[in-house]
């Protein structure tokens, strides 16, 4: 019982003590994961929209493919992105390895299939009259696509929230390409892994508690957005 209570009280302590290192970790986690979700969404939302709306050969295969990609272990994604960003990798010249940018890339790769799969599902289940209705009212094809997205907005926002949940909680990819550098690439999850490996279980639990609070704040904000966006 001490184990859990200790972690909880220490977590509350972290929140109120304004420890700059812990707040630095929180801010970095938030920045990296939000950037990753936005980056992934820029590709995943249009792609999911197209796959969900258009009829073409191989559509079912693509849907199955994206659902399968959800099973990718984060460590494997970390390895792949490490291979790409490494000095000898094709993108080594960017010098992104062991920077927050590398974590953004890895997490975006992780979030991409999840958001795509969920957007496809959202669009497929949406009424198929939306696009044609927009067209008959004078929309360009792009405006019609936007109308579809707007009608599916609750499911699309849920897809983004799910993507955020996946990336802010993952540790494998972030530690591999970020390197867990103190004050620079140390996020909630890599810090928790480190504290646990040091035997600082209470600190690990406390950080986990803090992470939950941050995730709660993000979800409340997105919920607020949903309620406003009519």
């Amino acid at each position: 019982m001490d184990f859990f209570l200790g972690g909880l009280t220490r977590g509350l302590g972290l929140l109120v003590n304004l420890d700059p290192e812990v707040y630095g970790i929180a801010w970095l986690s938030l920045r990296v994961s939000l950037s990753a979700v936005i980056l992934a969404a820029l590709a995943a939302v249009p792609l999911g929209l197209v796959i969900g709306q258009k009829e073409f050969v191989g559509k079912r295969f693509l849907v199955v493919l994206f659902n399968t990609l959800l099973a990718l272990p984060t460590v494997v994604v970390g390895l792949v992105v490490y291979g790409l960003l490494s000095y000898h990798g094709p993108l080594g010249g960017l010098g992104l390895l062991y920077t927050p940018g590398a974590m953004v890339v890895a997490q975006a790769v992780l979030a991409f299939p999840l958001i795509t799969a969920l957007v496809i599902a959202a669009v497929i289940t949406l009424d198929n009259r939306v696009g044609p209705t927009a067209l008959t009212l004078g929309a360009t094809p792009l405006q019609a696509a936007w109308a579809v997205l707007k009608e599916a907005r609750f499911a699309v926002l849920a897809a983004l929230a799910a993507g955020f949940g996946r990336v802010i909680t993952e540790v494998g990819a972030a530690i591999m390409v970020g390197g867990n550098i103190r004050h620079y690439t140390r996020t909630f999850t890599t810090a928790i892994a480190l504290e646990t490996s040091k035997g600082e279980f209470a600190q690990g639990m406390a950080l986990g508690f803090f992470l939950l609070v941050v995730a709660l704040a993000v979800n409340l904000a997105s919920h607020q957005l949903q309620a406003r966006w009519k």
Binding site: R31, L34, Y87, H88, Y98, T99, P100, V104, I181, G199
Partner: protein, 270 residues
Amino acid sequence: MRLRVLLIVLLTLLLAAPAMAVDRLVLATTTSTANTGLLDVLLPAFTKQSGITVHYIPVGTGKALAIAKRCDADVVIVHAPALEERFVADGYGVDRKPLMHNYFVLVGPPGNPAKVQKSGTVQEALKRIAQAKVPFLSRGDNSGTQVKELSLWKAAGIKPDWPGYREAGRGMGPTLTMADELGAYTLSDIATYRKYLSTGRISLVILADNQDLLKNPYSVILVNPAKCPKVKYDQAKKFEKFLLSAQGQKIIADYEADGKKLFWPVHPSK
């Protein structure tokens, strides 16, 4: 609608801007040096003196060397002499210098089912463990600690192949916890063991300590600029010089965790 798009773009830029690369030296090192907190004292002192930022990546020795082989680090601090020699012989590393050492400890359950004698040598201890076929937990992660453990078995002329000999495949901390729960013996670095013991997480006791065979030497090696043209050799060289300078060695000698000395520098008198 256009405003919203603009907002999103701005937000992305804001979020992504701090992700840009910085000028820094990348040090790949073992978790044991990182976890003790030594680097958090050593590196700021170097930065203050030289203006060079050092980012350390805490991983196992094997992985640290693998990262360096791919030119993704500028300098390494590791503790596995055999691997280090290969690393240098293969042309990946240059200017390998001994930096400091401490001692591994052989630990086991307080009941000591193998009846290991605390005053004996580590070789005798391992023989007892093998004869009694009691559980022994190996790191199994190609860390410096595991490399050391395997060399100890070899030196004792034992092939660890009884069913109780298992590999954890995890870091030192989790391995200690597992060993404690399994009632197994294991080899640990002193710092992690002390940390776990002090939090009351484990009850394992030290059975062999402070012997030459258990010496755990750390080296600093620079990544060969001939293999990795973009490596920051000159800055790394400065870093190595600092580590071996009187100032650097004194910081190592004076570093204590929980009131106990953890590392012995190679040039203690300087």
